[in-house]
C-alpha cells in the first residue's frame, strides 16, 4: 500500500511521517502530483496560517488536486480547516470539501483563567462516528493546538467542547479530517492513524 504525505510549506510534516513509522508504515513525503493521485492513502497535514497556506496550495495547483482525490484522504489540524468552505483567519476562501466554516475562538469576558487561547493540550471527544474511531471512546484524549475551530454540522465525526462545541473530526465520502494531532496523541492517536490506513474502501 502506498501512503503519501503531501509536502508543502506547513510546519512540522515530519512528525506525521515519524508517527507512521512507529506503527510500522513507511510513507512518502512528496509534492509530486502523479504520486499523490496514485497513492492508496493521502495525508494532508498542516500547521500554519490559513491565507498564506491556501495561496501556496493555489500557486502549486494542489487545491484542485486535493478536491479531486478519490482515495481516503486525512486532513490534520490546519488541513481540516482548509478543507472547510471559509476561514476567518485572513478571511480565506478554503477548499470547500466540508460545508463547515472556520471561526476564531472568542474568550469569555472575565474568564481568561479558564479558557486560554490557543486551545492547547489534551481534550476528550463526544459523539464519535466513522471507522476512524474504531476501538476509541469518549474516555480517550487527543492533543490539540489551535486558535480557530470548525463549526459542527452533518459531516461532524467527533465533537470537542472548548468555549463552544466544535468539529474535532469531519468526514464526507472519502475525506476525513481531525483538528487534533493524531501524530502527537499517544497510543490513541496511533490507533486512529492505523484505523485510517486500514479503512475499507
Amino acid at each position: 500500500m502506498k501512503i503519501v504525505v503531501i509536502k508543502y510549506n506547513a510546519g512540522n510534516i515530519r512528525s506525521v511521517d515519524f508517527a507512521l513509522q512507529r506503527i510500522g508504515i513507511s510513507a512518502t513525503i512528496t509534492d509530486d502530483k502523479d504520486e499523490i493521485r496514485n497513492a492508496d492513502r493521502v495525508i494532508f497535514p498542516g500547521v500554519g496560517e490559513a491565507a498564506t497556506t491556501m495561496r501556496f496550495l493555489k500557486q502549486h495547483k494542489l487545491d484542485s488536486l486535493i478536491c479531486d482525490l478519490k482515495q481516503p484522504v486525512l486532513g490534520v489540524c490546519l488541513g481540516l480547516q482548509l478543507m472547510c468552505t471559509h476561514s476567518e483567519e485572513g478571511d480565506t476562501t478554503c477548499l470547500g470539501i466540508f460545508p463547515e466554516k472556520v471561526k476564531k475562538f472568542i474568550p469569555l469576558p472575565g474568564d481568561s483563567s479558564h479558557y486560554k487561547i490557543p486551545h492547547m493540550g489534551w481534550n476528550s471527544l463526544s459523539e464519535l462516528k466513522t471507522p476512524l474511531f474504531d476501538g476509541l471512546s469518549e474516555a480517550d484524549y487527543f492533543y490539540f493546538v489551535h486558535s480557530y475551530y470548525a463549526t459542527t454540522g452533518g459531516d461532524t465525526a467527533a465533537t470537542c467542547t472548548y468555549l463552544n462545541p466544535f468539529s474535532a473530526a469531519l468526514q464526507r465520502d472519502n475525506f476525513y479530517a481531525t483538528q487534533f494531532h493524531p501524530e502527537k496523541s499517544g497510543s490513541a492517536g496511533s490507533k486512529l492513524l492505523s484505523n485510517f490506513i486500514n479503512l475499507k474502501f
Binding site: 515530519r14 512507529r22 490557543p118 493540550g121 499517544g186
Partner: protein, 250 residues
C-alpha cells in the same frame, strides 16, 4: 474538558540527561530518549528538553538528539537552551521539535519573539521566564537565575504575550529546588493577566503541590524535574491522586 498537563523537564548536557542538584554536583539520570519514552508511557502529557551544553559540538549533538526524540516519542515536546537566532529554531523544527522555549535571548532581544512567531507561528514559541522576588518586587533574571535584569515579571510576561508568544513558562527562583510548593499566588496573578496558557515551574515536592498549582495557582500545566527523575513521585500515582481531587487529567 481540557486536561491539566503534567510536564517532566529533562536537562541535557552533551546528549545525556542531567539534573543539577547544585552547580558543582550534577547527577546523570539516564538516556534522554529512553527516559522520555518511559515518561510518555507513564502518562506524561508533554516533555521539555533543556540543553545546558555551552559548546558548539554539544549543540550539534543536541540537534541529533532532538531528531531521535521526535522519532521515538508520541507526545508533544519542547526544546530549549541556547536558541538566540532564527536559524537555531529552524534546525530544531527540522529535527522534529514541536515547540521551542527561549529565555535569556528573549530578554536581551525581545524582537526575537516577534521574529520567531512570524516565521514559525505562535504555537511554536514558548517564552520561559525565571524571576526572583525581593521586597515584593519580582525581578526577571537570566543565565539560570544568576543575573538580574531591569525587567519585572508581570509586565515582561504580558509583553511576551503581546509579541506573539504561544505559552509562558514561569519559574520562581525563590521556590525552585525548595520542594515547598509552587509560587501559587504569583501564578494565579499571571494566569489572570495572560490569555495564553501558563506552565508553572519551581518548587514541586509533593502530589499535593500539583493539586494546589492547578487550583490555587490556576496554572494550565505543572512542570518538574528531580522529583520525577529520582522517582520521588511516579506519574501514574500523581495522575490518580489529581483525579481524586476532581482535577481534569488525561
Amino acid at each position: 474538558m481540557l486536561a491539566k498537563r503534567i510536564i517532566p523537564c529533562l536537562d541535557i548536557r552533551d546528549g545525556q540527561t542531567v539534573k543539577g542538584v547544585n552547580f558543582v554536583n550534577i547527577v546523570s539520570v539516564g538516556d534522554p530518549v529512553e527516559l522520555g519514552k518511559l515518561y510518555a508511557e507513564q502518562g506524561a502529557d508533554e516533555l521539555v528538553f533543556l540543553d545546558i551544553t555551552a559548546t558548539h559540538e554539544g549543540r550539534k549533538t543536541f540537534v541529533e538528539l532532538v531528531k531521535r526524540i521526535a522519532q521515538n516519542l508520541d507526545i508533544p515536546f519542547t526544546v530549549g537552551g541556547g536558541i538566540s537566532e532564527i536559524r537555531d529554531a529552524e534546525a530544531l523544527l527540522a529535527a522534529g521539535a514541536d515547540k521551542i522555549s527561549i529565555n535569556s535571548s528573549a530578554v536581551r532581544n525581545p524582537n526575537l519573539i516577534n521574529d520567531l512567531v512570524r516565521n514559525f507561528g505562535s504555537q511554536f514559541v514558548v517564552v520561559a521566564i525565571d524571576a526572583r522576588e525581593a521586597n515584593n518586587h519580582w525581578t526577571v533574571t537570566v543565565n539560570g537565575g544568576r543575573i538580574p535584569t531591569d525587567k519585572e515579571l508581570y509586565s515582561w510576561a504580558k509583553e511576551a504575550e503581546d509579541r506573539g508568544a504561544g505559552e509562558i513558562l514561569f519559574t520562581s527562583m525563590n521556590h525552585d529546588g525548595t520542594k515547598n510548593g509552587f509560587a501559587n499566588k504569583e501564578l494565579a496573578k499571571l494566569s489572570e493577566i495572560l490569555t495564553i496558557p501558563l506552565i508553572a515551574s519551581g518548587g514541586a515536592g509533593s502530589m499535593e503541590h500539583f493539586a494546589d498549582v492547578f487550583t490555587l495557582g490556576k496554572a494550565d500545566a505543572g512542570l518538574a524535574a528531580s522529583i520525577f527523575h529520582f522517582r520521588e513521585i511516579a506519574i501514574p500515582d500523581l495522575k490518580h491522586y489529581l483525579r481524586t481531587k476532581d482535577i481534569v487529567i488525561r
